[in-house]
Symmetry: C2
Subunit: 402 residues, 2 copies
């Protein structure tokens, strides 16, 4: 595996040999209720910390990408990338807001990578942010439902918990996925997230508590669902890893790929798989010159317990149709037989300020690749982040390496 | 000039010689009131027409960028790039919504170019869209004001007509810009736009009518202001112009650059110039290896008459402090001494469905470079589009060549 990664590390492109791109630094704010921080404040907090981690000054930054999903609907702030760049003192650099529902953070990272690969930037600041807890639950539900195509299911009252309830029912019908297996995801991730100071929920939960939690959208219960939060995360992407101020602390950015799919539940052909994920994963493996089995640690999009089961299969981290049982048996726990999944605690522990999630995943993986993670996976060489938007309308898969 | 462009046409990058990128096709919907077309419908109408113009089939498209500013605030539609890609039958390609207020369309084009330059795509569909006329004037004013930074001027009631009124007052105070000079911009552009079947306003206006129009935000009057509309525009960007299905109809995309600046009027240092424009213009000239004097035809962001005066100076199409007099003297009219500015009629004629404007500009320039424009500028070799967002929070400058 090390040899494979070595090759990928200075990959040939169709335009010739390029330098090894990297993530030079990363950071996240605490995820939770932060009533005193506006959406721009949160973004700036994460951005400053990521720049400090990278050893990058404001004048070194060539471009800023900012991913947010609810910055408009809940905060009424357009051109947020420019607002943040101005307040950071970046000067008149290229600033772009990108949106792909809950995958907005992963998409921001992808565009940092593309700008470097295109030769348009040497250093790109990528930020993901959302502020949610100042809104009413009705506003939040409606804001999130904007990730569904208008005029189709959402006018019938479908919400995201409702959609993932349908997904869980379909998975149970096809594969016999049990209540205990769904709950096992929550138990594992809350266990991994125990003591995580950045997480909304930093205490473990018992299987019985998940099984008996308040029903939300059958068969999903409260502890099957990630929670809204305020928060931001950021990463500094560099065109040339060797030229980073702290090259030893800079990890390789081997690939960051995107796929897309239907934004209406009625149009999803197979409720047990997200095509956007499988397409992005295939492209990421090709670009990074890795196989799924090469991956040591994964942060994936467990917005609901059932999503982790399906994501694990779509990413080929666990065999198709066998993920629920494997997770229940502990395969993806820290120290398990397969790649460790969501050592940070995932969305289920961390909370899900939607636009921030993709870059919070990257922040955990940077720590893993530096060997400095709270729940360190020993000998981590290859790490993968997976960020899903809406009903599989979009997804990103990022491959990082030591 | 031709020799300069010839060199730029196969520019060296820091990674070696790249193929000549191009815009293979373009299109726009009629701009105006289109109550029967939703925001996705409009985007699809323009996208299909641009693909047909390029001779590109759905299965040839590798990625879609969609620029919109009000798709969330007025239409409540997230992941619009995925919605449009699905309905166009593009398959699971990378889909991204980009936002930079009224420059969202130009930013979409830039990311089509970057994806090609990064080797991530051979063919990218770039779409700009906004639907506005189904909202109340209060909703529209509030939606547009989201391009101001929250917590600064907008809570004091500043609107965009108000901001550009301040800009016009400052320009008048510094340069003596007269009422007739402001009006001359409107007269020229409405004259250029006369008979434009895609434009909201396709009739000329007299100087006296502009001078005496209803006051909006002193000194600006009704005919100083571009009007809201529903509409979309699209362009197909290709990595290798020579490989386009219709290479003879494919124009060269020499550069598409971005700059940024303050999103609060209080933070704008000089109300008579937009730093985002000057930065983007310098970068675009460098990337395209042209000088401002090489430009034959310009579509620039005349959201208000005063904006055209300032843009002409920021882009160095006319000398600093002399644009108002030069425009009044007819320098930028069709057949004038300088580059022709806004032969389409500009935003003042066409209407301004904000996210669509940047790509509608490109659509006019593609026609000019093909020698097929309604108001053809004879012998056009180099064409420039300028798209401005908010109070100069962001801007893009695109250079195309025959």
């Amino acid at each position: 595996m090390a040899a494979t990664v070595g090759v990928a590390g200075s990959a040939m492109t169709r335009f010739g040999r390029q330098p090894d791109r990297g993530v030079a630094g990363s950071a996240m704010t605490r995820f939770g209720r932060q009533p005193d921080r506006g959406v721009a404040d949160l973004a700036i907090d994460a951005a400053r910390a990521a720049m400090a981690d990278a050893g990058i000054a404001a004048e070194d930054v060539d471009a800023l990408y900012l991913g947010t999903f609810l910055g408009r609907s809940l905060q009424g702030q357009g051109v947020l990338a420019s607002v943040v760049a101005q307040r950071l003192g970046l000067g008149p650099v290229a600033t772009t807001v990108v949106e792909g529902a809950c995958a907005s953070g992963g998409i921001a990272l992808r565009h940092g990578m593309l700008a470097c690969r295109a030769g348009a930037a040497d250093v790109v600041l990528c930020v993901g942010v959302d502020r949610m807890t100042n809104a009413s639950s009705g506003e939040i539900t409606q804001g999130l439902a904007e990730a569904f195509e208008a005029g189709v299911d959402r006018e019938l009252g479908l919400t995201f918990p409702g959609f993932f309830g349908l997904v869980a029912s379909a998975h149970t019908a096809r594969f016999g996925t049990s209540r205990d297996q769904l709950s096992a995801v929550s138990v594992k991730n809350r266990d991994h997230g125990s003591g995580n100071p950045d997480a909304l929920f930093s205490t473990p939960v018992e299987l019985a508590a998940v099984n008996e939690a308040r029903p939300i959208a059958d068969p999903l219960r409260l502890l099957d669902c990630s929670a809204i939060a305020d928060g931001a995360a950021a990463a500094v992407v560099v065109r040339d890893r060797a030229a980073a101020p702290r090259p030893d602390r800079c990890v390789s950015l081997l690939a960051c790929e995107q796929g897309s799919g239907p934004a209406a539940a009625a149009a999803v052909e197979d409720l047990c798989s997200f095509g956007a994920t499988t397409v992005a994963m295939r492209a990421a493996c090709r670009a990074a010159q890795i196989k799924p089995a090469d991956v040591d640690v994964v942060e994936l999009h467990d917005c609901f317990t059932i999503a982790e089961i399906i994501d694990s299969e779509d990413l080929a981290i666990l065999p198709h149709g066998e993920a629920a049982a494997a997770i229940e048996a502990g395969a993806t726990r820290l120290g398990g037989e397969a790649a460790t999944v969501n050592p940070s605690g995932g969305l289920l522990s961390r909370g899900h300020p939607v636009g921030a999630t993709g870059l919070a995943q990257v922040h955990e993986l940077v720590a893993q690749l530096r060997g400095e993670a709270r729940n360190q996976v020993p000998g981590t060489r290859v790490a993968l982040a997976h960020n899903l938007g809406g009903s599989g309308a979009t997804a990103s898969v990022t491959v990082l390496a030591a």
